[in-house]
Symmetry: D3
Subunit: 157 residues, 6 copies
Amino acid sequence: MKKIAIFPGSFDPITSGHVDIVRRAVPLFDHIIVAIGTNSQKQSLYPLEKRMEWISRVFQDEPKISVESYEGLTVNFCNERGADYIVRGIRSASDFDYEKTIAHLNNAMFPNIETILILAKPELSSVSSTIVREIIRGKGRVGKFVPKEIAKELKLS
Amino acid sequence: MKKIAIFPGSFDPITSGHVDIVRRAVPLFDHIIVAIGTNSQKQSLYPLEKRMEWISRVFQDEPKISVESYEGLTVNFCNERGADYIVRGIRSASDFDYEKTIAHLNNAMFPNIETILILAKPELSSVSSTIVREIIRGKGRVGKFVPKEIAKELKLS
Amino acid sequence: MKKIAIFPGSFDPITSGHVDIVRRAVPLFDHIIVAIGTNSQKQSLYPLEKRMEWISRVFQDEPKISVESYEGLTVNFCNERGADYIVRGIRSASDFDYEKTIAHLNNAMFPNIETILILAKPELSSVSSTIVREIIRGKGRVGKFVPKEIAKELKLS
Amino acid sequence: MKKIAIFPGSFDPITSGHVDIVRRAVPLFDHIIVAIGTNSQKQSLYPLEKRMEWISRVFQDEPKISVESYEGLTVNFCNERGADYIVRGIRSASDFDYEKTIAHLNNAMFPNIETILILAKPELSSVSSTIVREIIRGKGRVGKFVPKEIAKELKLS
Amino acid sequence: MKKIAIFPGSFDPITSGHVDIVRRAVPLFDHIIVAIGTNSQKQSLYPLEKRMEWISRVFQDEPKISVESYEGLTVNFCNERGADYIVRGIRSASDFDYEKTIAHLNNAMFPNIETILILAKPELSSVSSTIVREIIRGKGRVGKFVPKEIAKELKLS
Amino acid sequence: MKKIAIFPGSFDPITSGHVDIVRRAVPLFDHIIVAIGTNSQKQSLYPLEKRMEWISRVFQDEPKISVESYEGLTVNFCNERGADYIVRGIRSASDFDYEKTIAHLNNAMFPNIETILILAKPELSSVSSTIVREIIRGKGRVGKFVPKEIAKELKLS
């Protein structure tokens, strides 16, 4: 049976922190779906298409990684794709409390789905999409916090 | 003097976690008011009447528990009702930091009002109204997270 | 049925923080036993008799409070005394994590025993027996951190 | 070289907690700019002019303190003003996690800018602008939580 | 290349929490070594041989799991065994802070070694060897907290 | 009046994390005393003389830094030296809770003494003397975690 994992998020935009977690998770699974959860109530900075394009470009060298978007609960999407694993990066104790809550609820609904936590590297443990968006809005330098493909494009546009 | 406690919240909807805390608090007090704080700025998923009806139904076997709604500060409502206690359930360290802040401020305003914290049971420590609402929106199964009276109704509607 | 609570600790020595928690818990119960857990493996700064004497003196005005010592598990002592409640003060998020662990285990062994958490007042939230002992060893002023009965005696001895 | 520090915030309104931190930081620096970050996306309770006026009045006795407003990233404002320090008050472990994230990102963008953390006093460690606003909306007493200049004005208006 | 993981600990004794984490980790790896770190400075309750025997017995049905003991740093043992993964269970935010520190240091010494964190189930999130030892010393019931093989033996002896 | 700060610790041994904090604190003060607290009850890995020698060597280029040892409470030593500031590095939320407790108690005893917290850099936020000692005992590589002067000597000895 193939080991499939979902790496869910809004990726608005994908950060160097996300990229590092996914790449480190690759050897553990046969396939990883970077899955953009869409939520009609939450306004995003970048349109879904742009976010998907960036993720595809960042991981184009890695055949085990694909990109998709989904609506509704992450666990439902896992079941649709036959994924038994959710991969999450954690940076801090407050991340942990959040992940624990979600993982326990997911497990209560679907005991077959396992959450695997991977620690952010120290130098990436302060990076989040929220903060990258604030830096972009404040016209700060994001080069250290997003993949070079995105940094380049953001400078031009 | 009667020992009256307020159990405040928005209960949108009441969860199995809330129910467990209130039932465990019953023996300590003569009367517990489950008090729905209304806030014109915050949009609720369920109307106030529905939330009150659910709570009444869940606790209809327990004469020491009543349901009310209030506007403004919880401590003011305590004083109006002659309640010297606020009961709160806590699930995690982040819950704790929040409750501590509120309890200290309440105490600075009204030193007679005491906050009593009761720990969520392990199997209920990931349940919150916020997450129940997300599961409902995502059409997930909430049977384990809300009282059976609500679970039944949500399935029908 | 009488509502009996245990307030367990090593009280080496009892601090102003402990006293505040016990006094605030008094109205909730018919009787509170301040219970000194003895542990042959842990060396105490003050002998058990001295610790018991101090507690008795501090609470001599309050007939609902008594002092006892016990060996072994706190839950076993609760059952021997017919106590359905354990009262604990909490000061910080790390206190909380510890109390949660203990309360959950107690509950797994004896579901009838309920733990009630009461928040330390802000000005007492840094006081602990451990730190009082360090200040005493370092010949610092402990007047603000222990009941005046103990402060007086420590200055003389 | 003059040692200049920025004390950034939205100060909606300035609280007794803010005032305490700034006054304690004064001896460490030649000049402290209390800097109101403006953010067109966030609705404030009090207009910018009112917030600046209050801060000026509270610190009118202290020549080393001035008030300014800025848009965009705090680090950019630091560089414009030649400030090598950002001063922040911290109250709790969750404050800490937030400050750490911001400080690390600031440092990644501008390694010359140092963040200095000062601990809120115990009796002020539950005070925040967010909560003061809620108390004001709920018509509670804020006298203990804001400088007396503001408390007086709020009572009159 | 075989995916080998180390699950390090002192297992004094192995708990139901440990067993659950290891069993959930099995599908991710080709081989898991439950590795008892020995430390001449730390006194254990049970001798190394007994601890190894218990672990072997608990996992005798699972050919992918073996038991070993080691001295010195876990990362050195990983390298000796060709293990690229360390598996750790986490229960709480304080566990997390500890695991983060260790994982970052391990990574600084040997960047090839990845730490995988798996969340304890809610009902097992208060179980630790430390607390099981205390319950055993206090003659409490440990049946819910250790594998049935150990519970049975502890009752007899 | 000269601004004097104490940087207290056991420095067993001094780490790269300590060195970074002290160097970053230098511009804020006229003099910083790196102060080794001695405690007859705690066994150190390296003798006091060795620890002092290392610190002197590491900071020999910086005339504003000196090394001393002291017994008893840090606040008493501050008063003896006329130091109004204690500088502490913080790495994590658990560090924070500890520093907060100590700072509040110090402030209750001597309100003139201010604690200044400086955040560890991300890449140094997992380094502690405790862990360096464990790595040394386990014969691991400490080159990244201690100043090069110490790393060199530890390799030779």
